[in-house]
């Protein structure tokens, strides 16, 4: 059980925040991370269209053999992505994502010096995220 990293993707598919907490995944260059975030944004939209019954959300959990990705899509189109070990329980990851969203709303969106859709540079948000992940 480990949380590897957290990404925040804005509604246009740009990576606005990326942080690694534990080793266990390949280190990504910032360019690679941007490309992957964009890819995930596109995949998310396509997966919602592939539903064999009724309308569907986009992908919520993506599982590989050595890690898992949990995606939380907010009403405003921002995506919070958590990369964890495969053993991480679903409820726990969801809880972390919701708490991070809360921290984002408080520490980033309410910050008058933050430009929406731009990379997040906020020490307050950093510390809150670190505390949430540590407590999980």
């Amino acid at each position: 059980m480990a949380i590897y990293s957290l990404w925040v993707i804005n509604k246009a598919g740009g990576l606005v925040y990326q942080r690694t907490f534990n080793e266990g995944l390949a280190p990504l260059t910032s360019n690679d991370a941007l490309v992957l975030a964009g890819t995930l944004h596109g995949i998310h939209a396509i997966t919602a269209r592939l539903s064999p019954t009724g309308s569907s959300s986009g992908c919520q959990v993506i599982e590989a053999e050595t890690f898992k990705m949990h995606v939380l899509l907010t009403a405003t189109g921002t995506k919070f992505v958590l990369l964890t070990s495969p053993a991480e329980p679903l409820t726990n990851a969801d809880l972390v994502l919701r708490r991070v969203y809360e921290a984002y709303a408080d520490g980033v969106m309410k910050n008058p010096f933050h430009t929406p859709e731009m990379p997040i540079r906020s020490e307050g948000f950093d510390t809150r995220v670190a505390a949430i992940v540590k407590g999980a």
């Binding site: 995944l25 390949a26 690679d32 890819t39 396509i46 019954t53 009724g54 986009g58 919520q60 993506i62």
Partner: protein, 197 residues
């Protein structure tokens, strides 16, 4: 728990086989020439217009279930038509698994591969063979991983009726897996899974 559909893609990115079971939102038939012949009786366009022929396929064809099987699985009333045609849908499925596979490769330290993903209404499972065939199955979101089942389809019916079949041209790029025995065996196998119902 339900099982929606099964796709098999060859290493040339083309869909060579399709079968579905509890699907309520059906794809529009593929436009002519967009899909290899023999991939599926349900969505290949020509046979879809002939309802009589469809019914005669009952014991083996994938179509059947959508016609007759219980109200239980109908989540949103009568069968509705998807806005996607089948060939477009198959391309999207392939595109998604290909991109996700590459993404997983980049993120993981050692060799890793995508095993499944889940949305609010379905879960997609992937099994890839050494020869580049990709078996994809769509199920209920609460299903456990079905890779073992896909592997069994590969080692069982696929090897028996397709690979070891001298009349079957592998990698033909012109013909899907058009074999009634294979279709029937896959159908039997899927219906036998505890996930099915």
């Amino acid at each position: 728990m339900t099982i929606y559909s099964l796709y098999i893609f060859d290493r040339h990115c083309t869909c060579v086989y399709y079968q579905d079971w509890h699907r309520t939102k059906r794809p529009r038939p593929a436009s002519s020439g967009a899909l290899l012949p023999g991939v599926s009786n349900a969505v290949s366009g020509q046979s879809d217009s002939q309802a009589g022929q469809r019914a005669s396929l009952t014991p083996t064809g994938g179509v059947v279930v959508a016609l007759g099987n219980g109200e239980l699985d109908r989540m949103d009333g009568p069968t509705s038509m998807s806005t996607l045609s089948f060939d477009e849908e198959a391309k999207l499925v392939y595109g998604v698994i290909l991109s996700l596979r590459q993404m997983v490769k980049k993120i993981a330290v050692k060799d890793d591969t995508l095993s499944n993903y889940r949305t609010s209404t379905y879960k997609l499972h992937l099994y890839e063979t050494m020869t580049g065939y990709k078996f994809v199955i769509l199920t209920d979101p609460n299903a456990e991983s079905l890779r073992f089942a896909l592997r069994q389809i590969y080692t069982g019916p696929f090897l028996d009726y397709v690979v070891r079949n001298p009349l079957m041209v592998m990698d033909s790029k012109e013909q899907g897996i058009d074999n009634e025995y294979f279709r029937a065996a896959v159908d039997r196998f899927v219906r036998g899974l505890s996930m099915y119902n």
